[in-house]
């Protein structure tokens, strides 16, 4: 196999249909970037889900002076009532662990958490967050019973199931992920059609050469390789652009998401690079395969 010959043929082919090549590269880049973003979102969701699933709790906030709930009558429950609630929680079969958090502790925690946004942390006062019980469940999915028993109980202001909130949030992320994947799939179809068209044009432009190659007994590999590589290289260039776009995705989309939503888990660059490599390989293989299948129709053996 003469590498120089093959490379020269590829270069000629790519240049001869420059506009098609550009359209192809752009389509592949968008397809792979969206596909990669979808995968990244999925990884983020899975990772966060794992992280959160053993940390989410049902929080039971007790009444205090600031409670808006009318059944609280703007009064804290007595120590006896608090002990009763705690005892009741501990007796439930679904409950693994109960910890009490006082207003003071909650205040400290909030200050700590929002220390990067001083304007906000300064306005927090003791009592903004009432006394609460944090309930760990044996199985996070069985929150229903706890919520049912605590909701509306004397001395209880609100029952917040963190899992339900997270689930809503994950659903949104999941939706985003699917949207990215579906658009990526459409782009993949467009890319395949563009490859088919580009290669068809290429085969037509080079029909003299390939005709002679066939006559003098060049092997099919030799005849087809320049075309397949032409597709593969267009795919690779698209993949490189996709890699850049995915870099942006990581910094701007996932980075922002982590910052704003206090994700404890963040996807590292290693994960992103894995996705990039996978997306690039996928792009190259897709284009090469589409070229090869197109050739079977347009290059007679």
């Amino acid at each position: 196999m003469r590498a120089q010959f093959v490379l020269q043929e590829i270069w000629i082919g790519l240049r001869r249909n420059l506009t098609m090549t550009i359209a192809l590269v752009v389509t592949v880049a968008i397809a792979m970037a969206l596909f990669g973003t979808g995968v990244l979102l999925k990884m983020q969701v899975d990772k966060s889900n794992n992280y959160w699933s053993d940390k989410v709790e049902v929080s039971i906030y007790l009444c205090n002076k600031m409670s808006a709930n009318p059944s609280c009558h703007k009064a804290e429950p007595t120590q006896g009532e608090k002990d009763q609630i705690e005892a009741q929680l501990k007796a439930m079969p679904q409950v693994a662990d109960v910890t009490a958090e006082t207003q003071q502790q909650a205040f400290q925690r909030a200050r700590e958490r929002f220390k990067d946004t001083p304007g906000f942390s300064d306005t927090i006062q003791v009592g903004d967050i009432p006394d609460s019980f944090r309930v760990k469940l044996k199985n996070p999915k069985e929150y229903q019973a706890v919520v049912a028993q605590m909701q509306g109980r004397q001395g209880v202001d609100q029952v917040i199931n963190e899992r339900a909130i997270l689930e809503k949030f994950f659903k949104i992320l999941g939706g985003l992920q699917w949207a990215a994947m579906i658009i990526a799939a459409i782009q993949v179809v467009a890319a395949v059609l563009l490859v088919a068209n580009t290669i068809r044009l290429s085969a037509f432009n080079r029909r003299r050469e390939t005709g002679i190659m066939r006559l003098v007994g060049a092997s099919n590999l030799y005849i087809q390789l320049p075309f397949v590589l032409e597709g593969a290289i267009a795919g690779l260039i698209g993949g490189i652009f996709a890699a850049v776009l995915l870099g942006f995705s990581k910094v701007f989309l996932l980075g922002r998401l982590q910052q704003n939503l206090q994700f404890a888990t963040s996807l590292g660059w290693l994960d992103v690079i894995q996705v990039i490599v996978f997306a690039m390989c996928f792009g190259v293989v897709l284009c090469a395969l589409a070229s090869f299948l197109t050739l079977r129709r347009y290059l007679k053996i």
Binding site: R2, F5, N220
Partner: protein, 232 residues
């Protein structure tokens, strides 16, 4: 070298066969003119030898190989042993004489050293010495056909097929082309040439196979073009 055994070829969507019950045997080193009116099946005969088409019935052997048993994978190897020349030359317009001839060897992966050695030899053989750096459009029709012959012969095939090689060339120049083909034939290469050129067939007095409506109607050694077509 080439054996047609009761070969019939019917193209798809065509009711009339292009070839019908053809039995022809061409031995090694022979020179055969294939004559007959337009549409009689000459080109079809040549395409079957290259396995560009498959016979509808009958068997074809080339160089001892049964073409029906040849896998697609092996077809290129068959074609490397057969050279082809056409009426329309089929040169690459953006390559020089040298590059056009070398192309045939490059694409079958021959080493560069070998190519540099044999290409000038074959260019001399077809009588184009000194013109190896010309582009095809700087050559006369006769010279272009010599380039095409050089390309067909550069890999030293066992068989050379020529489909009306003098069809686009004036009679005087055609004689020169025929001399080149004769020279190639004398190296032991079998030559099968389809032609309408009565003067050439009559002048060369080689074996003549005449087709009519896809049937062999005459197979004559040292033959002439034939009465019906204005021959002797």
């Amino acid at each position: 070298m080439i054996h047609f055994d009761n070969v019939t070829k019917v193209y798809s969507h065509q009711s009339r066969p292009a070839l019908q019950g053809v039995n022809v045997a061409v031995e090694k080193g022979e020179f055969v003119f294939l004559v007959g009116p337009s549409g009689s099946g000459k080109s079809t005969f040549l395409r079957l030898i290259l396995k560009e088409e498959r016979p509808t019935q009958g068997g074809i052997h080339v160089a001892g190989k049964d073409l029906s048993k040849l896998t697609n994978w092996k077809i290129p190897h068959l074609r490397r042993r057969i050279g082809c020349v056409f009426q329309d030359f089929r040169l690459l317009p953006n390559k020089t004489v040298n590059e056009n001839v070398a192309f045939a060897l490059e694409v079958i992966g021959k080493p560069r050293r070998f190519i540099r050695k044999v290409v000038p030899e074959v260019i001399d053989l077809v009588g184009l010495e000194g013109k190896s750096h010309r582009m095809p459009d700087e050559l006369s029709g006769g010279e272009q056909q010599r380039v095409a012959i050089a390309r067909a012969f550069v890999n030293r095939p066992m068989v050379l097929l020529a489909d009306e090689p003098t069809g686009n060339i004036d009679p005087a120049t055609s004689i020169g082309i025929m001399k080149v083909l004769d020279r190639i034939n004398r190296t032991g290469t079998t030559v099968v040439m389809a032609t309408h050129d009565a003067a050439i067939v009559d002048a060369f007095r080689k074996r003549v196979v005449e087709l009519e409506d896809g049937r062999v109607v005459r197979d004559q050694s040292r033959g002439v073009y034939g009465q019906a077509y204005g021959g002797v």
